[in-house]
């Protein structure tokens, strides 16, 4: 009898959401698997109580310990692809419009942060983590709290998601683990980075040295427990959403434009368009486009990378009247309509 190696692990995912918090995605919908760049360590740490500090025992040792509350957290790391991005932005934002493109086999998925007037509950999904033939666990009620996307000119684009579950980490009856999806990498050199005033953005890809984008739902994990006895989280709602965008731009000899934009607080628009040379079909490439149509610089410190001088730009993304929001992500891939965020029943 051997011991388990890290590389033996597999994860089954679903593009669909649970029909309700507490009701797992059906096994027939747990049919997706993505390449992960790091082991998805399920941080299963129940809150414990014991009597170690209790007075009156006559000794310093605990005599009992009980589980108070269950909790799960999970970090998923991916290379940026049209599939990894769509999976994460679907559950991060909670709202999608999917359209088949001109009767092709390509589909456009437009993700925007969900309205919170109807509900503040984040969409949740289920995952199955198999580490060995004897260890196959269902992670239920997984809400995506934060996504970070980063790339530099020297490295492949990465996207990471941080999940919060209900604490349910029980046995799974999923019979077959899905095979990995073949999805082309969206490399840093597949990025077209446009910056400028809205509708007049200019391609600054050749000046760009790095970028870091993040979006947080500020999920109210601790507030999700209820006085109902079993210790599992009962909901995971949006707190106050926050988005950051930082990027580096090389300093051109004949320009101090970025410096001026900070002092003028110029309203700017950024479009980050990752386009793969690999087509979904003959016409439409795999792509991920992130649009932040209204932002202003908060800092433009000079930095030196090697011997090249540039700006390390920090921004404040703001509300855009036309978009009626602050950000929109459009993904083109081969996943049909009525899949992302459709309820699993």
């Amino acid at each position: 009898m051997g011991t388990v190696r890290e590389y033996e692990g597999q994860m089954a995912l679903s593009w669909k959401k649970q029909s309700a918090y507490g009701t797992a995605v059906t096994n027939t919908d747990l049919i997706q698997a993505l390449r992960m760049t790091a082991f998805p360590d399920a941080d299963f740490k129940p809150d414990m109580v014991n009597d170690e500090e209790v007075f009156g025992k006559g000794h310093e040792w605990a005599t009992e310990q009980n589980i108070e509350r269950f909790n799960t957290a999970l970090k998923t790391d991916f290379d940026l692809t049209s599939h990894s991005a769509a999976f994460l932005f679907a559950f991060l934002f909670g709202n999608v419009v999917s359209t088949q493109l001109e009767e092709s086999d390509a589909y456009s998925h437009v993700f925007t942060p969900m309205a919170i007037a109807t509900t503040k509950q984040l969409p949740v999904t289920s995952m199955v983590q198999q580490l060995s033939s004897g260890f196959k666990k269902l992670l239920r009620d997984m809400a995506l709290n934060e996504v970070s996307l980063s790339c530099s000119v020297k490295d492949r684009a990465k996207i990471t998601g941080s999940w919060i579950g209900s604490g349910f980490y029980g046995d799974s009856a999923l019979a077959t683990m899905p095979q990995l999806i073949t999805s082309p990498y969206l490399k840093s050199d597949n990025l077209q980075f446009k910056l400028g005033t809205k509708a007049s953005e200019v391609d600054r890809s050749t000046d760009l040295t790095n970028l870091d984008f993040s979006f947080s739902n500020d999920a109210l994990g601790d507030e999700g427990y209820r006085f109902d006895g079993d210790g599992y989280r009962r909901e995971c709602e949006i707190g106050k959403r926050k988005m950051t965008l930082k990027f580096g731009l090389r300093l051109a000899h004949d320009s101090d434009a970025e410096h001026d934009r900070l002092f003028a607080q110029t309203a700017l628009s950024v479009i980050m368009d990752f386009v793969s040379p690999v087509m979904v079909d003959e016409t439409y490439p795999h792509s991920v486009k992130i649009e932040i149509p209204n932002l202003a610089y908060t800092a433009t410190p000079i930095k030196v990378d090697g011997k090249v001088v540039g700006h390390d730009i920090e921004t404040l993304p703001m509300y855009d009247e036309t978009l009626e929001g602050a950000v929109q992500v459009t993904v083109v891939n081969d996943v049909p309509e009525d899949t992302y965020l459709a309820a699993s029943v």
């Binding site: 909670g94 419009v97 999917s98 088949q100 001109e102 969900m114 309509e337 009525d338 965020l341 459709a342």
Partner: protein
């Protein structure tokens, strides 16, 4: 609100999923859908649909077994 596909909408299918809308339909120029305001707003803004009159069709099965192109459905969630 009632909506219908525009003629030659240029797509085979559309879906919307979110807390305010839960809708999926295949292109069918004869179909009329009764949807809530947020769903209608998103569909009309997308340019593939227009306001309609007439009797909403909740669901229409395939004319012939296996004829997927004739299938359309309205999965409007009742909020």
């Amino acid at each position: 609100m009632k909506i219908k596909w525009k003629e030659n909408a240029g797509t085979g299918a559309i879906s919307i999923h979110g807390p305010e809308a839960d809708f999926a339909a295949k292109y069918d120029p004869e179909a009329v859908y009764e949807v809530n305001e947020p769903t209608a707003a998103k569909l009309l803004a997308g340019g593939l649909f227009e306001a309609a009159a007439g009797t909403p069709r909740k669901k229409r099965a395939a004319k012939n077994e296996g004829d997927e192109t004739e299938f359309s459905e309205n999965k409007e969630k009742e909020n």
